[in-house]
Every structure is written in structure tokens, then in C-alpha cells.
């Protein structure tokens, strides 16, 4: 099944235009008290979810944007994509 990905700038495109950037793992851990083991786990361990997971993609053949999508790993279909305009609205609301 061909993978399509919805870029927040360019819209829905062929998956071959993108580079996979790994699972979304949350913010980088605080360096104070960070052990090598904890850092290694953050960098290398993946959840490998069988289902919907949030992951990073890079539009290498297009606009050059890094963004996250929700993809169902069992069907290889997108579940949801956060658009730039929605992100901007959310950020504006958070700042209020």
C-alpha cells in the first residue's frame, strides 16, 4: 500500500517525498542528573507501537519542513495531521 503524508504546507503528497524522522519521544530530558543510561534509552529505545503513533517526517523533496503526523503502523494510513494554521491558533490561545 502506498503511503501518503499530509505536509502542513504542501498538502497531501506521496510518501516517497519524505524522510522518516523517528517516533515523537517528547522533549529532550533535563541534563541535570541525567545518567548515560537514561540518555541512551531516550535516544535509542522506541515503543514500536502496533497502532497509531506520533512520528516525525521531513519533506525533503518539497518545502523542507519537519513536522509530526499520527500514523497507524498496522494500516500505514495517516490518522491525523496537525496543520500549521491549527498550530498557530493553538499557540495564540496558549499565549493568552
Amino acid at each position: 500500500m502506498a503511503l501518503t503524508i499530509t505536509c502542513p504546507i504542501c498538502g497531501k503528497r506521496n510518501g516517497y517525498e519524505f524522510r522518516f524522522g523517528g517516533e515523537e519521544k517528547g522533549p529532550r530530558p533535563e541534563e541535570n542528573g541525567l545518567t548515560p543510561e537514561a540518555w541512551c534509552d531516550y535516544v535509542h529505545l522506541n515503543k514500536c507501537v502496533a497502532g497509531v503513533q506520533e512520528e516525525w517526517w521531513f519533506h525533503k523533496d518539497g518545502c523542507g519542513l519537519w513536522f509530526t503526523i499520527q500514523r497507524d503502523t498496522t494500516t500505514n494510513l495517516e490518522a491525523e495531521t496537525v496543520s500549521m494554521s491549527k498550530l498557530a491558533t493553538e499557540n495564540e490561545e496558549a499565549e493568552k
Binding site: 504542501c10 506521496n14 517525498e17 518545502c63
Partner: protein, 215 residues
């Protein structure tokens, strides 16, 4: 001191009828047997800049405002500015009324990179051009969602390109395409091959200048 020689990566096999030397480029103004269109015009000598800045929307290159959202373009006085993403814009000096001003293309501010000689630039103009494009890319130029001028960034003949649609008006349609210089020969080959059934022919700069002056 010897003059530098600037060489376009685009080689067209037609016979030049009229040529011109400008800013160390040898430019073909007219080819033999250009036909009635559509036309493929080499614009690789037109100065092109890449602009990067964290707040790129606040910059006014050559006094022009950069479009506020990615994919939008502005064409004014021969300068085409394309918003690429949140931090980047591209600027083409199509220069149909900036004759002799090619050497004042680089602004004094930081953030600009001259990409004229690292990319190719061609125009495909005339009738049936979107039928030709349809054979080479899945990008949907005819979607009513996009009003010319607009920028697509995506694969064209499998090569990452910037493609600006300047007109979707039937026989006066036209796009400008840029990609890395190294793809020049094969990109031209694939466009001419795809356009063969539509009678696509190489044309000189005069044909492009006439076309864009009527936009």
C-alpha cells in the same frame, strides 16, 4: 584580467538565430523553427537568490513584501518572490524591464545566497503545458484551490523542484521551473520528450519576454 565565461547547464539542440552576450552569459534570443508553441525557454542566466531568515516575512527585498504564507508568490516589475516555508523565500529576477540592472541583484543585507549558477531555470509556456506537466509530475496545477502565481515544491520528473505557475490562462499558460544544476541535461531531455506529442519546441528569450510582458 580575463572575462569569466558563464555556461548554462541547459543545452538545446535547435539552431540559434539570434544571440546576445549579457553579464558573461551567451543568451539565445531566438531559435530556428520555434513553431507555434508550446515553448521551452532557458532562463538559467536570470539572477536568482535564496533568502533565509528566522523572521523572513519582515524582510522587504528590493522594497517588496514577501508573501505571508508558503506557496504564495508576488510578481512585480520583473521580480518574482516566492515564499517557500516559514523561514525561506526565493527571488527570481525575470527582468523584463530591468535591462542592465543584473549586477545590482545582491542586496547588502545578510541572509541572501546567489543560486543562479547552482540551479537551472526554464520556462514552459503556451498551450497544453499542463498536459505535458501531467506526464512528469503528480502535482495538481489545475486545482482551483491554487490561483496564479503560486509555488509548488515537489518532484518533477522525480527531481525536487521549485515550480512557479505564473498563468493558467489557456494558451497563455506558463510555468517557471528550477532545480539543481546537475539535473539540467536530463530534465531538458525528459521535458522535451514528454512535450513531443504536443509539439513543444525550444524557444529563445524573446519569446519569454513577449509572453511575460502581457501577464
Amino acid at each position: 584580467m580575463k572575462d569569466i565565461k558563464r555556461v548554462s547547464p541547459v543545452k538545446l539542440k535547435s539552431n540559434p538565430l539570434k544571440t546576445e552576450k549579457r553579464d558573461n552569459w551567451d543568451i539565445v534570443m531566438e531559435y530556428a523553427g520555434e513553431g507555434g508553441g508550446p515553448y521551452l525557454v532557458d532562463l538559467s542566466h536570470k539572477p536568482r537568490l535564496d533568502l533565509q531568515n528566522a523572521d523572513v516575512g519582515a524582510i522587504t527585498p528590493f522594497g517588496m513584501t514577501i508573501p505571508d504564507s508558503p506557496g504564495k508568490c508576488i510578481l512585480q516589475d520583473g521580480l518574482l518572490i516566492n515564499r517557500m516555508n516559514g523561514t525561506q523565500a526565493s527571488i527570481y529576477n525575470l527582468g523584463y524591464n530591468l535591462a542592465g540592472q543584473e549586477d545590482v541583484m545582491m542586496p547588502d543585507e545578510t541572509g541572501y545566497t546567489d543560486v543562479t549558477e547552482s540551479t537551472i531555470c526554464v520556462a514552459i509556456i503556451g498551450k497544453n503545458i499542463f498536459s505535458i506537466c501531467e506526464k512528469l509530475t503528480a502535482l495538481d496545477f489545475m486545482s482551483p484551490e491554487y490561483v496564479a502565481p503560486f509555488l509548488f515544491q515537489g518532484p518533477f520528473s522525480h527531481v525536487p523542484c521549485q515550480i512557479v505557475t505564473l498563468s493558467k490562462a489557456g494558451d497563455d499558460s506558463g510555468i517557471i521551473l528550477t532545480c539543481s544544476r546537475g539535473y539540467g541535461r536530463d530534465m531538458i531531455h525528459s521535458i522535451l520528450d514528454a512535450g513531443d506529442e504536443f509539439n513543444l519546441k525550444p524557444a529563445g528569450e524573446n519569446r519569454f519576454s513577449d509572453w511575460i510582458s502581457h501577464l
